[in-house]
């Protein structure tokens, strides 16, 4: 694939957002908020950063992606479809009986889905396992893992964080979707995570903080992480939950519900206005 410019990637991110709205509305359920906040990072990874081949989804040397916040499955499926892993027409079968597009990602049920997630707090451990296998097999693939910020309240993440550093897993890039919202509200009110960068630094990680809706910054941070000699790297993406649809932005209500018909019309209108 020819290298896409930042504008093109931004356009793709918005297309993925539109897919998310179409899919979750057709399903009548699902998690649009955390899918929209991650759209720019997912576009950067799937259309620029990661070494992947939709025609050969499990080629040995591919980079791997772990969606630890599995409820954001719609954005992953949208990226896989738009990238050519499966037909985009299939997207609207999300969450329907008999569909491959399960409510939460299921290992290899859809080509390109590397692990099963949906129960929060387990993806980072799986990413560690994949990264460790890469070291054992002397492969130079990278493992990318996207975490929710609320998800970081699960203790297993910190067991994995300790492990990754102890085992020198510099082949891992973790991205945290720091949208500051979880189901019951603001993360800092539910169970404070800050100072989050300091927590990762104390665990020996390389930390970069970027605007999670600035694709250039995301790509640069990913490149920097890939050059790290020591330790795993984390990129904290400062994001807005529901990004791209005005009435969904920072609206905790859209964590786990889809659009009603009038909301759908408005969301589609807003997104179509920015898509070329």
């Amino acid at each position: 694939m020819a290298e896409l410019g930042i504008d093109e990637l931004q356009n793709i991110a918005n297309k993925l957002r539109l897919d998310v709205i179409e899919m979750t509305t057709a399903a009548g359920s699902g998690h649009p908020g955390g899918s929209l906040s991650a759209a720019d990072a997912i576009a950067a990874l799937y259309f620029r950063v990661m070494n992947i081949d939709p025609a050969d989804p499990y080629k040995e040397d591919r980079d791997r992606f772990v969606l630890s916040k599995g409820h954001a499955a719609p954005i992953l499926y949208a990226a896989l479809a738009e990238r050519g892993y499966f037909p985009t027409e299939e997207l609207i079968t999300l969450r329907k009986i008999g569909s491959r597009l399960q409510g939460h990602p299921s290992y290899r049920e859809v080509p390109g889905v590397e692990v099963t997630t949906g129960s929060l707090g387990q993806g980072l451990s799986m990413a560690c396992g994949i990264a460790l296998a890469g070291k054992l097999d002397k492969k130079d693939y990278r493992v990318y893992c996207l975490l929710g910020d609320g998800e970081l309240q699960e203790g297993q993440n910190w067991e994995a964080a300790m492990f990754a550093r102890a085992k020198g897993l510099n082949n891992m890039t973790v991205l945290v979707d720091r949208n500051k919202l979880q189901i019951c509200g603001n993360t800092e009110e539910v169970l404070a995570l800050d100072p989050l960068p300091e927590k990762f630094r104390a665990f020996g990680w390389n930390v970069t903080i970027v605007d999670g809706h600035n694709i250039r910054q995301i790509i640069e941070a990913c490149f920097k992480a890939s050059q790290a000699k020591k330790g795993p790297s984390v990129i904290i993406l400062n994001t807005v939950k529901g990004k791209g649809v005005s009435f969904m932005e920072n609206n905790v209500g859209f964590h786990g519900r889809s659009c009603k018909p009038d909301e759908y019309e408005k969301a589609v209108e807003e997104l179509k206005a920015v898509i070329r």
């Binding site: 399903a27 409510g103 939460h104 189901i183």
Partner: protein, 314 residues
């Protein structure tokens, strides 16, 4: 009103809010799902005794155990898969072994969770919870019984697991029903076959009994709302009357109600029996009703199984 569709978790929330008034010792713990599990109803009236732990179920159980060790009655709630599975060993050591007064109350159990899919459909929770010594396991049949069971659990010292669904479904019990832990009840009398069910499947079993009645088969339906301690006397009474038993649960046939009844009957009163439940499989995304049909938990499946077992009577 009988037949009205109500969600069990809403009545669990109501019961907690009422308990907040009558029992100053009750504390409620949540792991970022208060709106879904309805523990938010307790938070509204007793915010100072509501403990939000964040997305950290294992920690929640440990904190609940510490609170219970200090004299509190601790209710800890989340979705069934996390409540039972995520922190099973925490429940085992910190709650069940020391016999502490922690009530693990799970919502969103079974296939009827629907589109969230297999990761969120608890189908093994009864099995792993009833295996724990000291653990009481309760599966109320409707919203009213969920209310009564919550009150009963609060009044009874010791560890317990209560299982509820996500969806709204018809109530069987009157709003003022009472609940006795360890006692089954006959919700329909019959002589030809005993259908022993729990949870939402009691309603489905009643519908199946009507279908059987149309064919001249008189089924007895038992609501086995406590899986542990199991009401052996009730099983013996119905099995000796009908001589054929079918169990029905929105859970795997491995280790749940069906297994508990099979264990009891094979040791005390060997009787032809069959089990309705998921057959050693995970669920998938889909609408609740579609899934119940696809996985063999529809009233037609109960009817077919009842006829099959009746044929085995000697």
């Amino acid at each position: 009103m009988s037949g009205e569709k109500l969600a069990q978790r809403s009545y669990y929330g109501k019961a907690l809010a009422d308990l907040a008034e009558i029992d100053p010792n009750v504390v409620v713990l949540d792991a970022d799902l208060a709106g879904s599990t309805k523990t938010s109803s307790f938070e509204k009236v007793a915010p100072e005794r509501f403990v939000e732990v964040g997305i950290a179920e294992a920690n929640m159980i440990g904190i609940a155990a510490g609170l219970a060790a200090s004299g509190k009655t601790a209710f800890a709630s989340t979705f069934g898969v996390f409540a039972s599975g995520r922190c099973w060993e925490q429940i085992r050591m910190a709650v069940a072994y020391p016999n502490l007064n922690v009530k693990v109350v799970a919502t969103h159990c079974g296939l009827s969770v629907g589109p969230d899919g297999a990761t969120h459909q608890a189908l093994e929770d009864i099995a792993i919870m009833r295996a724990l010594p000291n653990m009481t396991v309760v599966v109320p049949c409707d919203a009213h019984e969920a209310y009564a069971a919550t009150i009963a659990l609060a009044k009874t010292n010791g560890p317990a697991y209560m299982r509820m669904g996500r969806s709204e479904f018809p109530v069987i019990k009157p709003a003022d029903c009472t609940f006795t832990i360890g006692k089954a009840d006959v919700v329909r009398e019959g002589t030809d076959v005993s259908i022993i069910a729990c949870g939402q499947m009691v309603q489905t079993s009643l519908e199946a009994a009507e279908m059987l009645a149309a064919e001249g088969i008189n089924a007895e339906v038992i609501n086995m709302a406590t899986i542990k301690p199991l009401d052996g006397e009730a099983i013996k009474a119905t099995a000796s009357k009908t001589g054929a038993v079918v169990t029905v649960e929105e859970h795997s046939v491995i280790g749940g109600l069906g297994s508990a009844v099979a264990e009891y009957l094979s040791e005390n009163l060997p009787t032809p029996m069959g089990r309705i439940g998921t057959k050693d499989t995970f669920g998938e995304s889909g609408e609740a009703e579609e899934l119940l049909v696809k996985y063999g938990l529809a009233k037609e499946d109960i009817v077919a199984k009842a006829k099959e077992i009746i044929k085995l009577k000697s």
